[in-house]
Amino acid sequence: MRIYETVISAFSAVWAHKVRSILTMLGIIIGIFAVTALISVGQSSNAAVTEQIEGLGSNLLTISIRDSRANLDTDDIEGIGNLSGVAAVSPYVSSTYTVKNGNNSMEDISVAGVKADYQDIREYGLLSGRFITDRDSEKRLKVAVIGVDVAVELYNSYDVVGETISIDGIKYEIVGLLEEQGDDETESGDEIVLIPFVTAQRLMENTTISTIYASASSSDIVEAAVANIENYLLQYSSEDNGFTVTSQESILESLDEVTATQTAMLGGIAGISLLVGGIGIMNIMLVSVMERTREIGVEKAIGATRRDILLQFLFEAIIVSGIGGLIGIMLAQFGSGFVGTLAGTEVTVQSGVMLMAFAFSVVIGVGFGIYPAIKASKLNPIDALRYE
């Protein structure tokens, strides 16, 4: 028999038992929906975090000094800037303060001390004025560059260069306004105040340098830059874990690892429901083979081969699981908004996941349909014809 005829024949057999087929399908629908939805949640939250990290600049290197005896000063840090592969370097110190303009005030605003290179490292653009310069730092000038949210909240205007801002009661002159950075999950990139590094050290009464940001001169040599910095820092601390140099890439890698495990785990748990659905298919197919024993005998008597019978039953299983899979995928797609609300992140179902889920539903159909189909095909026509 021609394959497409067998498929048509299988369709009409599935259609002939509508209620049973739909109930069997339900197991697959729920399983595929759960797998698709959960994997999409995992992927979407990964994508959201990745975007945040990449937003910091792909060449960004973060240096953390943990060894308290390392005792780096600003000159030592300039040495990092001279290393090959390093384009810019800036120490970084930050704390939160209440900032004020007259009676307007904002609490818990992140105030960071940085040097001029910090602008290149973070790829900051300016709406007006200038960025912090190294001279500001050397002279310990009380100047500040502020984010747009601070400008709007305290001055209700973007025209803030030349105004004064009070940080912890000390007045600073505003010399620049940062372009809008946009919010991320944890904090607003626009509720910040940047001041010269040495000025900040004094404000915060903290002279140890524990965080340094640098940028590699291009994304191709990030790893070489990391190695150079590590070598350079060895002269200040030979302790294990005395310092770490992390590139965005390595952060992303470990993040990917975590989320991949998480996604696989979620998918695996959902996969159990799919397994149950598959067993349901096998169950119903076995009942169906029993019921149709006589029919199978007749088909064999009028010329059906084992292959014809096997394919007929196999296609029936695949049709049930395949259609169930498609419905499950559609539910996941249309329900992604709802699932996203539950998961607390915007969820999109990627076409790759849909394809994979559909392929998986077909595999389930084959896997759980093959045994009943073989059983049907092996029925002896005489016994089958005699079956009541």
Binding site: M1, K300, R306, D308, P381
Partner: protein
């Protein structure tokens, strides 16, 4: 060359330690266009013989030549093909597929030959026309009377033009009036040139055939031919 040649055929079933000789050395030759009735009480082995002739079963030993081909050595796949092309089954229980219309049932054997849809439909319609059921094509078996169902089954048996029509108690499930109609149809088919093998326990029905084989304990005990004068 004879249409059917059976030589020294044995079929032995092992029931625990007992061996049951369902066929015990059967020799049989059937020519083209013969009308043969195989008669015998239940347990005589006539069903086993029918299964052998119909290629539904293979013998323990012996030879079966159908159309000069040795069927006893055939694989499952080739047997299916022989059943499809060379044998037309007519069962006591009609054995129609319940979910399908009369036309669908008659089309079924043609489907297994790999014929295209239009050709298939055409052949099935012709076969239904032969049994006078053109107006019932779209009916399902449960919408037809017993006699009509058996006529659909006959159309199904004829649709691939097989050399052998094999009828197993074709009137066993019918009232006498439709039984007579069906027997008339089978006799007509024989007269139109078909080879018919009829299995029955009813000697009244066996009388319609030209040749009657009596089967008892797996052996052919008598083989009588009618004179030319029907």
């Amino acid at each position: 060359m004879s249409l059917i040649e059976i030589k020294d055929m044995y079929k032995i079933y092992e029931m625990g330690s007992d061996k049951v000789h369902a066929l015990d050395g059967v020799n049989l030759t059937i020519e083209e266009k013969e009308f043969v009735a195989i008669i015998g009480p239940s347990g005589s082995g006539k069903s086993t013989l029918m299964n052998m002739i119909g290629c539904l079963d293979t013998p323990t030993s012996g030879k079966y030549l159908l159309d000069s081909e040795d069927i006893s050595k055939f694989s499952d796949r080739r047997l299916a093909k022989v059943r499809n092309k060379k044998i037309g089954f007519i069962f006591q229980q009609f054995n129609l597929l319940k979910k399908m219309t009369a036309l669908g049932n008659v089309e079924r054997p043609v489907l297994y030959t790999g014929c295209r849809r239009q050709e298939r439909r055409q052949q099935a319609k012709e076969a239904l026309d032969m049994v006078g059921l053109t107006d019932r094509m779209g009916h399902k078996p449960n919408e037809l009377s017993g006699g009509q169902q058996q006529r659909v089954a006959i159309a199904r048996a004829l649709v691939n033009n097989p050399p052998v029509l094999l009828a197993d108690e074709p009137t066993g499930n019918l009232d006498s009036k439709s039984g007579d109609e069906i027997m008339k149809m089978i006799t007509d088919l024989h007269e139109a040139g078909n080879t018919v093998i009829l299995i029955t326990h009813d000697s009244g029905i066996a009388e319609k055939a030209d040749r009657v084989l009596h089967l008892s304990d797996g052996k052919i005990v008598s083989d009588t031919r009618k004179g030319s004068g029907i």
